[in-house]
């Protein structure tokens, strides 16, 4: 079943590792390194300590009865920023506000904050508001430096932009009659490049 999930959400939950501020309540974790290597020491985590924890760990430890920990919402998803997104989503530099705005936002909904409906709605409306700009810019920037267009996009938007660019480039190739031009496979080219750098090293 995990493989099916792979094809719809390509491995993003694994690649994106987030640090959140948490308020640990009443937990007594034994001191283990977060990579899972056992360092067997008893380290009391007293009530009310704040610590940073990767998202996957917070999700694993979280319980609805809220006995163990509560998660503090990053400021991008809070009231203040939500009104900014409501006013004009296009202007915001989403890359600076956490490159995984949409991904992390969807994961934060897991923690049963009372503001969940508003958060979800804001994320959705932000995406809708910004999508048009992303799509148009990706389809009209041919053979030029796109760094200015891409720098304020978050990772999801960047992959959409890349898809748009690839479509545009394929179409232009077709228009020039180069779609029947046979080329070496990209794997071969990359492999050859790597061998050259190995030889030079």
């Amino acid at each position: 079943m995990w493989w099916h999930r792979c094809s719809f959400v390509p491995l993003r939950p694994v690649y994106a590792e987030f640090e959140l501020s948490l308020t640990a309540m009443g937990a007594k974790p034994s001191g283990r390194d977060v990579q899972g290597q056992s360092v067997c020491q008893r380290r009391p985590g007293s009530q009310g300590t704040k610590m940073e924890m990767p998202l996957w760990l917070a999700k694993g430890l979280y319980e609805r009865k809220r006995r163990v920990l509560s998660v503090e919402l990053p400021k991008v998803y809070r009231e203040g920023w939500r009104t900014v997104f409501g006013a004009d989503p296009i202007v915001v530099d989403l890359h600076k506000m956490g490159p995984y705005y949409y991904g992390l936002g969807s994961q934060m909904l897991h923690f049963d904050s009372p503001e969940n409906p508003e958060i979800a709605n804001t994320i959705l409306q932000t995406f809708i508001g910004r999508f048009r700009r992303t799509m148009d810019s990706s389809q009209n920037a041919y053979n030029e430096d796109t760094s200015a267009l891409v720098e304020r996009l978050d990772c999801l938007e960047r992959s959409l932009f890349k898809a748009g660019q690839s479509g545009l480039n394929s179409f232009q190739l077709w228009e020039k009659g180069r779609s029947s031009h046979l080329t070496a496979s990209s794997l071969v080219i990359n492999y050859r490049k790597r061998k050259m750098t190995d030889l030079q090293a």
Partner: protein, 154 residues
């Protein structure tokens, strides 16, 4: 894990539950990372069949583990069976003509020495570096993909 949790609850050691969950989360994460890495490798190996051909160079084979080699062979077999089932008696090679063909013969240049090459009517061509030839498209396609020949468009 549910067994451990139940045991912790029944024995009244419920303060151990966060530790159990912590360790379990770590194990699951390691498992996800490993699975993601192996899956990515598998996708690349599958792409090799399409982009390179059914015989992989030894350098690449060297980097694959035995199970991946086995997977590649099985994939090749499935693909071959499928291709045989298409297009009537002979089957259809769908790994050919990946880009729409415009002519039967194409001009190619050799990028490296590849030795002798026989075409359908029996003529043998010597593929020496930088030599140019006018050859049937279907014979050259795989060599172009492998980087031995280069398709020249005037």
């Amino acid at each position: 894990i549910s067994f451990c949790l139940n045991e912790a609850k029944t024995e009244g050691k419920s303060e151990l539950i966060p530790s159990i969950k912590f360790r379990h989360s770590c194990l699951l994460r390691n498992q996800r990372c490993i699975a993601a890495y192996l899956y990515d490798r598998l996708l690349r190996i599958r792409a090799l069949r399409w982009e390179y051909g059914s015989v992989l160079p030894t350098a690449i084979r060297f980097h694959m583990c035995a199970e991946e080699m086995e997977w590649f062979n099985q994939y090749k077999k499935s693909l071959a069976t499928y291709m045989r089932s298409l297009g009537g008696e002979e089957g259809l090679d769908i790994t050919q003509d990946m880009k729409p063909p415009k002519s039967l013969y194409i001009q190619v240049r050799c990028l490296k020495d590849h030795g002798e090459f026989e075409i359908d009517d029996g003529t043998v061509i010597l593929l020496k570096k930088n030599s140019q030839h006018f050859l049937p498209r279907w014979k050259c396609e795989q060599l172009i993909r492998q980087g031995v020949l280069e398709h020249v468009i005037s």
